[in-house]
Amino acid sequence: MPTLNLLQAVNDALRLEMRRDSNVVVLGEDVGKFGGVFRATAGLYEEFGPDRVIDTPLAEGGIIGTAIGMALYGLKPVPEIQFSDFIYPAFDQIVSELSKMRYRSGGQYTAPVVIRTPYGGGIKGGLYHSQSPEALFIHQAGLKVVSPSNPYDAKGLLLSCLRQNDPVLFFEPKRVYRAAKGEVPEGDYEVPLGKCAVLREGTDVTVITYGAMVHEASIAVDQLAEAGTSCELIDLRTLWPLDIEGITASAHKTGRVVIVHEAPRTCGFGAEISALLQERCFTSLCAPIRRVTGFDTPFPYTLDEEYLPLAPRIRRGIEETVSYEA
């Protein structure tokens, strides 16, 4: 099995699906000849030509708005938003149009667009090349939200997204675009949506995370294992629809939960997960549910590593949760 990084796995999935389904088209800024600023679409223009790998004008609202029309007509558009920080010009099209097309037409029309976009910190990108806006989209009825942490999942999840009929926001953790490497099967396979992955089983505490922070949480969990703390590490993979059974089962088992994400804490996805677990696992919980997250500030350029919930902060959060006594 070849070893790929996360970017190569995304590229592999796109190529595979474009060969299989002639309705798949890729569009966005610099995705054509250049192959994308991160190279996620490299080589696709050469293989599939300018009608299926389309360099668009610089207008995210136009990219998503026209992709909606393409999907209405039966194509499977896969627009790339160059950085998720630049998704806001398309926010209206995503929120008012994309998410609601099926509902408002009484099921007559659907727009199953799969929006790919790199997100999160770690590339010294300052305020506008680092944000994690996933919660804004989870809040919209009608959208699915996915974020892989590793190459195997990236390919399998993207293939699943391309083969279902709802609109998806596919958030790619750019901090680990190249750093996350792993074996990826050459052929076709799917990773099901709505199923989390238990990366490590444990009994003392559940650590729930996704995207690039899976790698930071792994470091923290490894260190704590040496110190004798047994952590259960969960990679959500699909943020919405959330694998509610997977996370409640784990919370019941351990009775202690730490949620980790890069996005700001207030109204972040961790708040929703915390509320859900509190509603469902109240009597099993032995400690307050803890959130280890980005801070409620804009994303800083110089102090970016301090802003991010990296392994040391995660470890401290876990330790405090494990040692909590009522």
């Binding site: 099209q93 009484g106 007559q108």
Partner: protein
């Protein structure tokens, strides 16, 4: 006959003449070259009938709203020629993106009256399951796409549909309606720009009805016209007397033919007038002069079409009375049938959010059922 009303904007003809005093303002080429109207008497009558049908429907719906039987309504009144003659230029396989006032196009293209009126009532006869405000119909059967209320957002969708048709090698044309207010939206800009760059088979029909609720068109744009904006996007712009059925049809069918022939997009500006209120929630006496309304009523597109048909010897007052009575009867019967239908079933509240129901919706469905027991 109609020529003064029709002008074409393109790069060559719309440089401001001011400041270059020596040069005379170039004459806009008359679109009449296309051939007058291009509608036979029978076709003109068909268009007239569809215009009259929407007028009768609109009048009844506004009455029903006043009686408290429907919640809201956005009428086409005064804009029937621009609306219907545009839609008439399409083939059945073409796609339509309406704004607030163009449900008459769906009606003309085969959406039956009862589901259309059921949409206004928002009940179980509504194809969209009572989910949107009135005047927001959608029908897949006639390629009439759901509109959101958010001004301008449908325009890039029309471009995307046209683009997809082009990529698939189909000869489908997409038509998108918009008001003058919508030309200020960011989606107007991106739609025009993408349509120009990718040369897609889309026709933008702007109904310049002089008002965007209370804001006059001069407060939307400093351009000398809306049609002239097309120049900046590398496509033809045409301004036409929107209350003249034949002029609208000539301009729009020309644009549709260009689109179908692979020559790309066109912006058609129909100069018309919103004779009634913006919607049933509006009181236009607070912001516009009644004299202006009276002036435009003299140019009522339905009266004008009637006179034209009369002059062609194809119609008369007697038959007109009969038609009006027949349509009123048809509309009243449809209202009766539609109003009798029950509200959408409770369960439909949770349908169609996703293709397959998610766990949270299943729980919330159960919660609502338990609470309403």
């Amino acid at each position: 006959m109609i020529s003064p009303a029709v002008s074409r904007a393109n790069g060559k003809h719309h440089g401001k003449a001011k400041g270059r005093a020596a040069r005379p303002k170039p004459k806009a080429p008359a679109l009449r070259a296309v051939k007058p109207g291009g509608l036979s008497n029978a076709q003109l009558l068909e268009v007239y009938r569809a215009m009259m049908r929407i007028r009768v429907l609109d009048d009844r719906m506004i009455t029903l709203q006043r009686q408290g039987r429907v919640g809201f309504y956005g009428a086409c009144t005064g804009q029937e020629a621009a609306t219907i003659a545009s839609g008439y230029a399409l083939r059945p396989g073409d796609w339509v993106f309406q704004a607030l006032r163009e449900q008459g196009v769906a009606l003309m293209r085969g959406l039956p009256l009862v589901p259309l009126i059921a949409q206004v009532f928002g009940n179980s006869g509504d194809l969209t399951k009572g989910r949107q405000m009135p005047s927001h119909p959608a029908s897949r059967a006639v390629n009439h796409v759901s509109w959101s209320s958010v001004i301008g957002t449908q325009l890039p969708h029309a471009v995307g549909v046209a683009w997809a048709a082009k990529l698939k090698g189909h000869d489908t044309v997409a038509m998108a309606f918009l008001g003058d207010g919508a030309t200020s939206s960011n989606d107007f800009h991106v739609a025009m720009n993408f349509a120009g760059v990718f040369k897609v088979p889309v026709v933008f029909v702007c109904q310049n009805n002089h008002w965007s609720i209370s804001v006059p068109t001069k407060n939307q744009t400093a351009s000398e016209s809306i049609a002239v904006k097309a120049t900046a996007y590398g496509m033809p712009g045409v301004k036409v007397d929107g209350n003249d059925v034949e002029a609208v049809y000539a301009a729009v069918s020309d644009a549709v033919s260009r689109a179908r022939a692979g020559q790309g997009a066109t912006l058609v500006e129909c100069e018309t007038y919103r004779m009634g209120a913006h919607s049933t929630s509006d009181d236009p006496t607070r912001y516009r002069d009644q004299n202006e309304v009276e002036e435009w009523k003299k140019r009522d597109p339905i009266q004008r079409a009637f006179k034209r048909l009369q002059s062609l010897g194809a119609w008369d007052a007697q038959r007109d009375e009969e038609l009006r009575a027949e349509l009123l009867e048809e509309v009243n019967a449809a209202i009766k049938a539609a109003e009798a239908l029950p509200a959408p079933a409770l369960d439909t509240l949770f349908d169609d959010v996703y293709e397959h129901e998610t766990w949270n919706l299943a729980e919330q469905r159960a919660e609502l059922k338990a609470a309403s027991r």
